[in-house]
């Protein structure tokens, strides 16, 4: 069975700092990593391959340097990396991104399961996975915390909900988005690292995908960013000093009204 995993290269968020002088995001020297949630998707795809046989193809849409993310995925056990890179993709929102990725998946051909991280750590939308499923007319399970069983026709997955989890039987082919709880991503093996070094990354442009120009990039994006600003960083407040026996009643007094107001 073929497994497809969609990954995104993102800035390592811990490194995103705000320049106190200009009050803008400092991107200089910010390290790019694979979106942390996608690491679980890669790991799960590789585990599924190990479970039932087949191959894993990773796709990423991004600038040429996103190739590094695909090589890292190959080091973890992914067989093929495909980079979707084209100036025409710039400015894509989630609609255009999910369209572009779905075109690439159609081009790949037959597959059993598409895996994605639940969301990307830079945009935090969680929209591209379900968006792709819609473009490809696939059923989906989002927020998957476990894949219980899988065979040729279907799989059984557990979806994490706010109040517990549900067990879902879903027909293949399908799309899953996964949460951190599903596994612990492996470190690349030496063999994997060698493979990653040698691997030929497949590169597709808008033309290769046969993508319609009014559905990609800025043209294909219904949403437009009109303003970007840095929020006022939160300021620390009071530090209560003294003996706990004095501080605690003082703190409770301060919080009392909010607690009473929130009871409903």
């Amino acid at each position: 069975m073929q497994f497809i995993v969609c990954i995104k290269q993102v800035p390592e968020t811990t490194d995103v700092r705000i320049d106190p002088k200009t009050n803008t995001l400092m991107r200089e020297g910010v390290v790019s990593i694979i979106n942390p949630f996608d690491m679980y998707a890669i790991e799960e795809a590789v585990r599924l391959k190990e479970r039932v046989g087949g191959k894993v193809t990773a796709i990423s849409m991004g600038p040429p340097q996103a190739e590094a993310a695909l090589r890292e995925a190959i080091a973890m056990g992914v067989d093929t990396g495909i980079l979707l890179s084209d100036r025409a993709f710039a400015g894509s929102d989630t609609w255009a991104t999910s369209y572009t990725l779905s075109r690439a998946i159609r081009k790949i051909g037959e597959f059993g399961v598409i895996l994605c991280g639940k969301q990307a750590s830079d945009g935090d939308t969680a929209q591209v996975g379900p968006g792709m499923a819609t473009h490809l007319d696939l059923p989906q399970v989002t927020y998957v915390r476990k894949i219980e069983t899988i065979d040729d026709k279907h799989l059984v997955a557990e979806r994490l909900l706010e109040s517990g989890f549900e067990v879902i039987d879903i027909q293949l082919p399908c799309l899953l988005t996964v949460v951190k709880e599903i596994n612990e991503p492996r470190l690349p093996s030496l063999k994997g690292k060698m493979a990653a070094k040698k691997a030929e990354i497949v590169k597709w442009t808008a033309q290769d995908l046969g993508a319609e120009s009014e559905k990609i990039g800025l043209n294909g994006s219904p949403t437009k960013v009109v303003k970007i600003f840095t929020p006022q960083p939160r300021q620390g407040g009071k530090v209560l000093k003294g003996e706990p026996s004095e501080i605690v009643p003082q703190l409770v007094q301060e919080l009392r009204d909010i607690v009473l107001g929130s009871a409903s």
């Binding site: 968020t13 995103v16 705000i18 803008t24 995001l25 991107r27 200089e28 942390p36 710039a90 400015g91 929102d93 989630t94 609609w95 830079d122 935090d124 939308t125 969680a126 996975g129 379900p130 968006g131 473009h135 059923p139 989906q140 989002t142 927020y143 994490l160 706010e162 109040s163 517990g164 549900e166 879902i168 039987d169 879903i170 027909q171 399908c174 709880e181 120009s213 990039g217 219904p222 949403t223 437009k224 960013v225 303003k227 970007i228 600003f229 840095t230 929020p231 620390g236 009071k238 530090v239 209560l240 706990p244 026996s245 703190l251 409770v252 919080l255 607690v259 009473l260 929130s262 009871a263």
Partner: protein, 402 residues
């Protein structure tokens, strides 16, 4: 007319002042020889530089789109999320905000509810501000199913053409509404924390955090309808209940073909114990490594019990298997926005802060006075959480008379 968007620096106008460099959130502009140069590989065509430039030296050509006739799109819609027939509190927050938007646009506020045997719930939606309630009531819709719910909503949107469509940024909301938006080619903005109407254009101004809250972006959908957005829990104020309000209940016919689903729920396992839903909680008591061992989370549960609060956890405590992942707050867990967030024995790594720093009040209890959590705390207590938390429980019990 160009079919492709482009950006360029007009060399005759650029003075090399670097205002654009400062404005660019993506580090895509450098000034060389008193001339700005845009790195197209980094640029996302967001237009921040165009706005910042005082010399009109940057030209951003957005592809010209045949502007669709949007006049047929009326009304502000809210997706009324229900679980086991219980309307989720986020719905009332959406109705509260939706009412303001609808009044400003001089449109109706409508709620859409899908479920089985849910006609009773519709009066509550009217009492909370809905002028109309669209109801799809079928046994197949008893609980959330991605495909069937999306198909029914897509059908309703195509037939009734809402102008604005809001949905909670919950597990269900995010899974569902993206399918609807892609299908009807609508713009969808995730996880909004601010909504407003641009008085000049009538466009919905959707403000949301990105990069873990390090930047905020305001987004519009100028040429597509409906304008769709998911809204974060606890940011908007709940609509007040007015039982005297009147509204129309419209029971919609649902074609069988819409109810097909290639996925089916075979079981639902509810989390047991003293569980208040993290996303919906007004108060959260969270613990980290400073609690030293899993048994000590009982101290937090005791405090949470008195306050009617949910229990949260840092990543460290989840990784140590002290708490289940579903309680994790932070970058790889949940983003929460309660009225009060107690951080007990949590040092406050940036990954944790991005998940809770928009809480109204933050109380930090930590032994280490240098812990970063104190930088965001409204009230900081330097001390041992294992000692302070039980004292808080006692004191709250006294004050609240419990």
């Amino acid at each position: 007319m160009s079919s492709e968007s482009s950006i360029k620096v007009l060399e005759s106008r650029c003075v090399g002042c670097k205002l654009c460099v400062k404005a660019c959130p993506f580090g895509a502009i450098v000034v060389e020889n008193k001339l700005a140069r845009i790195d197209l590989a980094k640029c996302t065509l967001c237009g921040a530089c165009v706005e910042a430039c005082r010399f009109e030296a940057i030209e951003l050509k957005k592809a010209v789109q045949a502007s669709a006739d949007l006049s047929g799109y009326r009304d502000v819609w809210v997706f009324a999320e229900q679980v086991d027939g219980r309307i989720q509190s986020i719905t009332y927050e959406l109705l509260g905000e939706g009412r303001k938007l609808a009044d400003q646009l001089r449109m109706n506020l409508c709620a859409v509810i899908l479920g089985s045997g849910i006609k009773e719930q519709t009066s509550e939606l009217v009492a909370r501000g809905a002028d109309k309630v669209y109801v799809a009531d079928r046994p197949e819709l008893a609980y959330f199913q991605d495909e069937a719910y999306a198909a029914v909503l897509i059908d309703l949107v195509k037939r009734h053409k809402p102008n604005v469509f809001l949905c909670g940024a919950s597990t269900i909301g995010r899974s569902l509404i993206s399918r609807v938006a892609v299908s009807v080619k609508a713009g969808l903005t995730a996880d909004c924390t601010g909504l407003a109407i641009d008085p000049a254009t009538g466009n919905l101004l959707q403000t949301r955090p990105a990069f873990g809250g390090n930047i905020m972006a305001t987004i519009i959908t100028p040429n597509h309808r409906p304008q769709m957005a998911t809204v974060r829990h606890k940011v908007m104020k709940e609509a007040q209940r007015d039982p005297a309000r009147q509204g129309k209940i419209l029971v919609e016919a649902v074609a069988d073909a819409l109810l097909k689903s290639r996925a089916k729920r075979i079981n639902f396992v509810e989390e047991t114990g003293n569980v208040v839903n993290l996303a919906e909680a007004n108060i959260i008591v969270s613990g980290g490594r400073g609690l030293q061992k899993p048994e000590n989370f009982q101290l937090l549960r005791d405090l949470a019990g008195v306050l009617g609060a949910a229990v949260g956890s840092s990543r460290a405590a989840v990784d140590a298997n002290w708490m289940p992942y579903s309680h994790q707050v932070g970058q790889t867990g949940k983003t929460v926005c309660p009225k009060i967030y107690f951080a007990c024995g949590i040092s406050g790594q940036i990954q944790h802060l991005v998940g809770m720093s928009s809480s109204e009040v933050i109380v930090a209890i930590n032994k280490d006075p240098e812990a970063p959590i104190f930088k965001v705390a409204t009230y900081g207590v330097v001390g041992d959480a294992l000692k302070i938390v039980p004292m808080l429980t006692e004191e709250f019990r006294k004050v609240l008379g419990k």
